[in-house]
């Protein structure tokens, strides 16, 4: 189950980046409506897409790198480690 979560998580990376850049583009376009120069409007919308996409990608990769550590707290000890785990708990 832990391996599956890791695999699914990494598979979701481009989806997050795409979705975040889409939201960034939309927010950038809202801000860009205050301007009249079309080039400036495009630059602002593009910058919003890049900023959101990169920020979410960076955050997600950091989270995914931390995920094995988080999952290890919820995994049962292996049979070979069971005695040590029980002894440690005692």
């Amino acid at each position: 189950m832990a391996h599956l979560l890791v695999v699914v998580g990494w598979l979701m990376t481009p989806i997050w980046a795409w979705a975040a850049s889409h939201v960034g583009l939309w927010l950038g376009a809202l801000v860009a409506l205050r301007f009249v120069n079309p080039v400036v409007m495009l630059v602002i919308a593009g910058a919003g897409a890049f900023l959101f996409g990169f920020a979410v990608l960076w955050t997600w990769v950091r989270f995914m790198r931390h995920l094995p550590h988080l999952l290890s707290h919820h995994m049962a000890p292996r049979a070979t480690e069971e005695h040590a785990a029980i002894a440690a708990a005692d």
Binding site: H3, V6, V7, W10, L11, P14, M64, R65, P68, H69
Partner: protein, 201 residues
Amino acid sequence: MTAPATAVRSEFRHILLSGAIVGAVTAAAVVLFLLVSRLLSPGIVASVLLMLIVLAGGVAAAFLPGFFAASRTVQGVASAAAIALWGTIVFMAIDIILLRPFKAYPWTWDAIGGGSTWWYLPIWWMLGTFVGWMGAIVTSGRAARGGDPSVRSLALPAVSGGLGAGLGLGLGGLMFMPVAAGAGFVLSLVVFALVVLARKG
């Protein structure tokens, strides 16, 4: 007299067989990379050799699917993407059955994914399929313009981009040379694929 049109190969069996070859070539490149990185001491010679292996592996992953599928149409590009995807799955099987039990990778490889042995396989499913798809678009675009659709000819611009990035960023000490070469190769490939799509549009 015009040359006979190349038939797109999209039969299921052909896709599986071609994908198996792509996966085996990828695994061979990985084994070669690991051998060189273990046998040679770190330095400029080892970095250049590793960069060349990465670029050769990149060429195989990007252009072999399009070559096997004889990508000339949308159907051919889709077949190439399917071959590339199957290639990544075959590589995964080789990786799990052969490479992992022999502890082929250094601990730093797992450390990239936070200690998980499962981080790079989904990344390779996506990246391997993506570069195969891009390579097939470049192949079909070159063929449509009547150019030379051989792998050597198609790969030259993307390999040049990879070499430029690898030598520039690697020798500048900004990035590990093979990584920079791989990134430069993929980026160049994407740019060329976008140019093909823009010309068609």
